[in-house]
């Protein structure tokens, strides 16, 4: 393993990849920091740039964007009191008050350092768990994959914020949209209306760009003209030693950080839900366990630590199912999946055997990006603050142009560009209807996986359903999925709101 990791670092430390990663982290931080732009958007928009790069360079760039954008959200959370991304909502609770009390630099320093530690922790966990899990997953056949896909689908649909009916509907609709095109196994055309471009179905990237980027632009068109863009206050970096906080404060926060890191990692691993949920959960638990819970929300650094450690620990967590099973842990890793596929790499247990060096290059890229993020975000802070002031009515149209370029770049056809507009409209309707978009994406990606493996599994067992239940791993996951749905229905019927919903609604 060490040898492979060494090779990975060797690849990452070549001048052009390192340069790409510096740019990636910087662009990522900007996307994270500007409210309305997200990590998902950053990775989706930059994916077309990697088409002509080799897989090592391309994936290193995407990973750098992912890390930069996840941690960049804390800048606007603390300075503007608006979370830059959903993953830093809880950072606002204490980061905002700290800023008002004049401890802005301390809050930023703590946030950045614990983002760094959270990310490193999760990468370490990823590096140790992933190869082992891949070994187990190598033995998985269609039965297991079908069960895992179904389990993941129910998890995301029921855990997503808001009403369960809408979450399930969004997931099922995503699945339905994925059935457009040539059917697996049988190869008959479904729902193509004799449009040749639809034979291959909708490209994953057009769905993502539409739902997340184009929809955002339409949303801003609706509210942006009357909204006031907050002006970011700058912070003075004079007389700041290290990262602006004392060693004592650092030591006091370690147990909190450890707990939050575990929460972030665990929630990150679960398919479909990620940093957007874990930062809130970590914050609530940290508050409950704190010595002085009443100071939370009034400027306790513990709140910033919990939120930022947890959201960044989700990075390694979300990469875990992606790399070992080919199942994305959240929407960003869903696009990363697209990135892998574009370079002809199928994530899954075989990745660790056939592409060992590449896997460790990705690990190395994750670690290097994390270190880059630590220094660039803290010492380049003033630059990023300036970028927060770029007016939205200038920024978003330019992003739409980049969406068009990205969609066109997929296979040089205008059909994909029209698709992003269609999915943009759908995404906007989703926002208006209070329907979560993440289950739709996960349904769209996992749907074909579930269907293909169902058909293959049935072929293996001569059309016998019982084989799915006879297989211990498949039966366990199917059972868990069923239990989960029943438990959700039960808690929805009870007048008292379930704990998870309460957390999600905070």
């Amino acid at each position: 393993m060490l040898e492979l990791l060494q090779q990975g670092f060797g690849a990452v430390f070549s001048l052009n990849i390192l340069l790409l990663m510096v740019i990636g982290v910087a662009v990522g931080i900007v996307f994270g920091a500007v409210p309305g732009l997200s990590a998902t958007m950053a990775v989706a928009l930059c994916l077309p740039l990697t088409f002509t790069m080799g897989p090592q360079a391309g994936l290193s760039l995407l990973v750098a964007l992912f890390i930069g954008a996840t941690s960049g959200g804390l800048i606007s959370a603390i300075l503007l009191k608006i979370p830059g991304t959903p993953s830093s909502i809880a950072t606002v609770f204490d980061g905002g008050p700290l800023m008002e009390q004049g401890h802005g630099v301390k809050a930023l320093g703590i946030g950045i350092v614990f983002s760094f530690l959270g990310t490193l922790f999760s990468i370490a966990a990823l590096m140790f768990i992933a190869p082992q899990l891949a070994k187990v997953a190598l033995r998985f056949g269609p039965h297991e994959y079908f069960a895992i896909a179904v389990f993941s689908l129910t998890l995301i649909a029921t855990l997503s914020a808001g009403s369960m009916v809408k979450g399930l509907f969004a997931g099922a609709l995503g699945f339905a949209v994925s059935t457009v095109g040539i059917a697996p196994v049988e190869a008959i055309r479904r729902f193509t209306f004799d449009v040749a471009e639809l034979n291959g179905g909708f490209a994953m990237l057009t769905v993502m760009i539409g739902m997340f980027a184009v929809a955002e632009i339409i949303k801003v068109a609706e509210s942006g003209r009357h909204a006031h863009q907050g002006k970011a206050q700058s912070v003075s970096m004079k007389n700041i030693k290290g990262f602006g906080f004392s060693l004592k404060e650092f030591r006091e926060q370690l147990p909190n950080a450890g707990r939050s890191g575990l929460i972030g990692l665990g929630i990150g691993i679960l398919p479909g839900i990620g940093a957007g949920t874990s930062n809130l959960v970590a914050y609530i638990i940290s508050k409950k366990r704190a010595k002085h819970p009443e100071t939370y929300g009034k400027g306790n650094i513990g709140g910033v630590v919990a939120s930022e450690t947890a959201n960044n620990a989700g990075i390694g967590g979300a990469m875990l199912p992606l790399m070992t099973l080919g199942i994305p842990g959240d929407t960003v890793t869903a696009i990363l999946l697209g990135g892998f596929l574009i370079h002809g790499i199928q994530p899954g247990p075989l990745l660790f055997i056939s592409q060992g060096p590449l896997v460790y290059t990705i690990f190395a890229a994750l670690i290097v990006s994390t270190v880059l993020m630590l220094f660039m975000e803290f010492y380049g802070l003033r630059l990023f603050i300036k970028l927060l002031d770029v007016p939205k009515h200038i920024l978003l149209p330019i992003i739409l142009v980049l969406c068009v370029v990205g969609a066109f770049g997929l296979s040089s056809r205008l059909f994909d560009v029209w698709s992003i507009l269609v999915f943009g409209l759908l995404g906007y309707v989703f926002v208006k209807a209070g329907m979560p978009a993440a289950p739709f994406i996960i349904g769209f990606i996992l749907g074909p996986m579930a269907e293909t493996n169902l058909r293959r599994g049935l072929m293996l067992s001569d059309g016998n359903f019982v084989a799915f239940l006879g297989n211990p791993i498949a039966a366990t996951f199917l059972g868990l999925a069923l239990a989960f749905v029943l438990w959700q229905v039960y808690s929805a019927l009870r007048p008292k709101k379930s704990a998870i919903n309460e957390i999600l609604r905070t």
Binding site: I188, I218, H393, P397, V401, L414, L425
Partner: protein, 163 residues
Amino acid sequence: MATNKKKELLIGIAMLGAGLGYLLMTIQLPRHAGIDAAFVPSLLSALLCLLGVLQLLSVRSCAQAVTEYHPDGEADSPQGGSDIKTVVKTLALIVGYIALLSPVGFPLMTALYLYLQFIVLTPVDHRVNHLVYALIALVTAAIVYLLFREAFDLMLPSGLLPF
């Protein structure tokens, strides 16, 4: 508060409509004995319709709860800054942009689209600065076009321009 109930009802109708539409298309798929390509779509359309019905029922049965329920907070206040005119203008611009992308070409259309979209999205309390907007639009279009063409080998449609 009645508007919220009406909205949830509309959402339910849309959900059921989508489910029924999908079901209708699924029925037209060629079938054969056993599990075939229409199996999963059939399951899905049943699920979609069921969820649509559940949504409608939930609006009917717990009107009280619905009025208290706020769909996903985030910048979604129908009474507040809802600005349908700007949305329609934006959509029209995007449609025009994509439709003319191939005949007119990426550089010209992008510059034009950006310039117009900047104007449409300018906040009410801001002044429209035509010169700056035109400059940003031209420079962005040129940079994006050349960057992708030269550095990333992506042949964006050049259209009317000879290069």
